[in-house]
Amino acid sequence: MTAAASQDFVGELAQRHLDAAYSLGRWLLGNEHDAADAVHDAFLRATKSADTYAGGNARAWWLAIVRNCCLARLDTRSRDRRNVSIDDTTGGSDRAEQLLPHSEAGDVEDRIDHAQRQALIVHHLNNLPIEFREALILREIEELSYREIAEVLQTPIGTVMSRLARGRALLQKALAGTAAGKVTHGP
């Protein structure tokens, strides 16, 4: 690829998979600002290392760079613990339930119900260790194949499979826990 073609390639690739990149950033970093900055970093890094793209799955190559930029950011964040805002605003399902009033209107209840379920799943996902969370997001939300996930995480496929299995088991257990909790706290 010529220099011009590889720059164009990265530009096109990044824009085509911008949502996936940003979503991964959100799930790894927990807030809009850091996720957007990480994607920005990733774009610059990708244009510099366009030559390292050796064919193969371009989306996985791009997401691997995004992930590396996210991890770098997480690293600096843990070294200087500034105030970091995380999406999980509910502080757990119990509080979410208390905060949300009962209502007669069906669609309002539906919306509350949805907000509640969303808060729950965000809470449980954020509670998962990052290696299980990222594998689950890439598989279930982004719908990547094992091979693509392995490329993004730079691990063998066997590791992808064991992380997916463990992540799923942990999330199922957590969800079962809150579902049981709901029953006992119910009216």
Binding site: G11, R117, I121, R139, S145, R168
Partner: protein
Amino acid sequence: MDHKTAQANLPLYFDGELDRAASREFEAHLDECADCRAALIGLDDLRRTLRDDAPRHTAPDLLRKRIEKLAAAQASRSESIPARRSHRPPRWLAYVASTLLAFVAGGVATSLWQGSPRNAETAEAPAGTQLARDLFASHWRALAATSPVDVVSTDRHTVKPWFEGKVGVAPVVRDFAEQGFVLVGGRIDYVGSARVPVLVYRHGQHLIDVFVLAENATANLAASSAQNGYRLEPLRLGDQPAAIVTDMDAAELEKFVRLFAS
């Protein structure tokens, strides 16, 4: 398949990673094992919960604009660098490039470019051959991408202005849904380093790319060619040269080409 093997295969089956024969065996076990059925339903519930309830984070407009700007800046910078064509790659490298380009699509490595020995001898392929290569490569790249289209539309009135806004070219867009060739949308793709509009059609399982080319582009493009089961057919779209790349068979392709002439 015994229960233990089935348990090990269950996530693979669920994730669509098991080959057809193994899937059949797994399904046979599934029919008689309630435990495996329950486990599968459990995985499916979890997936549905994640897909229905987890928020979808789409890139904020501000970020999209930032990246668009950066990409445009990069593109113009690299365009201003004069093309370096001073020295020719070693002969063996040209040969390797012309005979094999490993392209991984969906986990299946497909070897492409069984270039003709004539091309290998001359070391530099004629321009027409290069164009054919670039067209095939573009098509395969699109097949490997998540979506072969940037704008999804079955309405030609949407596709045409979209191109006009993106590349300043408004190709003739026609829909042949009634004849079995459905317009699914369009994208901007690279043919070599040129950005060109591509109209994307679907015919049954086949994806069809129609590349709209520059005025002088098809002058030295061979009448038609084939690579690894994919066919390339030049044609004219109104007064613009274009080329079809698809894996349809010759008869279907001919039918499609005739529709454009009508």
